[in-house]
Every structure is written in C-alpha cells, then in structure tokens.
C-alpha cells in the first residue's frame, strides 16, 4: 500500500471524494477472449457473440464493459471495498471484438443516507473514433472501515 500511496493514489473516503471530479480509464482492446470469458461468467452463450449477428458480425454482451466504468474510481483511489447500489445503462451501439474502448466518468453526487455514504458517477464508454457505445450512471456505497 505504501507503493500505491507514493504513486499518488489515496484511500477512497467520503471526505476525499469531490463532486465534479472526473475519471478516465485506460484504453482496452475488446478481444474474442473477453467475449468468451464473459459468456462463461454469466452463463450466456448467445450465438451472436461468436458468429453472425444482425449487426454484420459478432457482438459482445451489452453489459461487457460495465466493469470498465465501475472501476473508474480505481484510477485515482485505493478502494478497499464497496457495494454497488444502483446501475443505469443505455445501450447505444453494439460492442464488437476489435474495438478499442475507453470509459470516462464524472462524480455527479455524493450523499449520506441512514448512516451510509454513497457516490454517484455518470459515465460514457466510447470506441476509438469517439462514438458513444454505452452511457449510464451508477451509485456505489463506500465501505471504508
């Protein structure tokens, strides 16, 4: 953890978090292996993931890149644990193997309710041309104890 601290990462706390702060993920090349691993993980082997689809070739599961968005805060903070409270997705364009994708996010709210602390992040995931593929927002409960 000292290494992470030295690299500029700080523990995620309610106080450290600022409404309006922005995150950017690394670029990620969507591979057939990603699609296959995801299909195994969620036990969904739709034929469009591996062959022709109405979109002209294989497409990935629409939620494939949810974790790229959900992990945005890890680009700045050391996150010991958290609980996902709410998720909103808008699927704009299919995700295809071979795309290089990136997610950007912005903290749009933080609040305390019934003794628990939450952060709300809006995000967009885009391909290499900047075409939005997925938009949405999510609410995460902070666990800092």
């Amino acid at each position: 953890m000292e290494f992470a601290d030295a690299a500029g990462f700080k523990p995620l706390t309610y106080e450290a978090l600022t409404v309006g702060e922005e995150f950017v993920s690394d670029d990620h090349l969507v591979t057939p292996e990603d699609v296959e691993t995801y299909a195994f993980a969620v036990d969904d082997h739709h034929p469009w993931f591996f062959g022709p689809s109405p979109f002209g070739g294989p497409v990935a599961h629409p939620t494939l890149l949810g974790n790229q968005a959900l992990h945005l805060r890890h680009s700045k903070y050391i996150v010991h644990a958290g609980l996902h409270a709410k998720m909103e997705f808008h699927f704009l364009e299919p995700i295809r193997p071979g795309m290089r994708v990136r997610s950007r996010g912005k903290v749009i709210d933080k609040y305390e309710r019934r003794g628990k602390q939450y952060m709300v992040t809006e995000f967009v995931t885009e391909d290499q041309a900047g075409t939005p593929l997925v938009r949405g927002q999510f609410t995460q409960m902070l666990i800092t104890r």
Partner: protein
C-alpha cells in the same frame, strides 16, 4: 406479426435460472487479494458471510432476458435501471424474472417494450429490482 399479438402488457417472460459458483464470479470480477468478490477472508473481515457476486452480474442476466425477448432492439436501443437491494453470495441460485409493464410507440414505427425486472435468490428474497426496455419492430431479429 403485430406487436399486440407478440408482446402484451402483463406478460410474464420465461424466467432464467443462474447458478453462481465462485468460478463464475472469479471469471467476472477477476481474482485478487482484498476483494470481497474473490477473497473469502477479506469478505468476512468486511462483515459478509462469504464472497459476493458483483451486482453487475445481475444486470447481465437481465440483459440476457431482454435480448431473448427483443434481440437487436435491446443490443442497440435498450436500457436498464436496477437497484441492488440484497447481497448475492457465491453458491446462491438466482431466478431472473420479468413482466411487461408498458408498450410505448416510438419514432419509425418501433415500439418500446418496458419490462419490470427482478432477481430473487433461492430463498425467494429479491436481490435486484428495476426496469429494462428495448425496441420491438416487426422486422426485428431475435
């Protein structure tokens, strides 16, 4: 086939049953120390009885249900809003359910099909609740 004949308000969608062994959770979340999804000791230290599946896995299950219903009209044009209301633990068995709530005309002759969706565990307790929707066209491929 006209939308009214194919999909109707109040229609129950065929449920999906999903087992959640640690192996699938690991494939979904990755394996790392100090993760409540893959490190049993860490999960217990954080107050849980064992490792948890990511809530996001339930969105994937709901997505599967809507893709089965609407096909391309969910992959492009679909949306979802879900609240995770109870932890899902490794070893749980989820049943994913949906009931058509609304049929809403959209531009271009498509119909937005809005579905109440939820997941319940093997004890009948709801773990996630929300709505999901997508576009239905007579020419849509499923």
């Amino acid at each position: 086939m006209a939308i009214a004949e194919a999909i109707r308000v109040g229609q129950e969608l065929p449920p999906l049953v999903k087992e959640l062994p640690q192996r699938r959770i690991d494939a979904y979340s990755g394996v790392r120390p100090r993760s409540i999804h893959s490190d049993d000791g860490w999960a217990r230290q954080k107050g849980f009885r064992t490792t948890l599946a990511q809530g996001m896995m339930s969105t994937a299950f709901i997505s599967e249900m809507l893709t089965r219903l609407l096909g391309a009209g969910f992959v492009k044009g679909g949306d979802m809003s879900v609240a995770f209301i109870k932890p899902v633990y490794q070893g749980d068995r989820l049943t994913v359910r949906g009931v058509v709530k609304e049929l809403r005309p959209e531009a271009g002759g498509a119909t937005r099909v809005v579905v109440d969706v939820w997941c319940e565990n093997q004890h009948g307790e709801k773990t996630a609740v929300g709505t999901a929707s997508g576009l239905h066209t007579d020419a849509g491929e499923r």
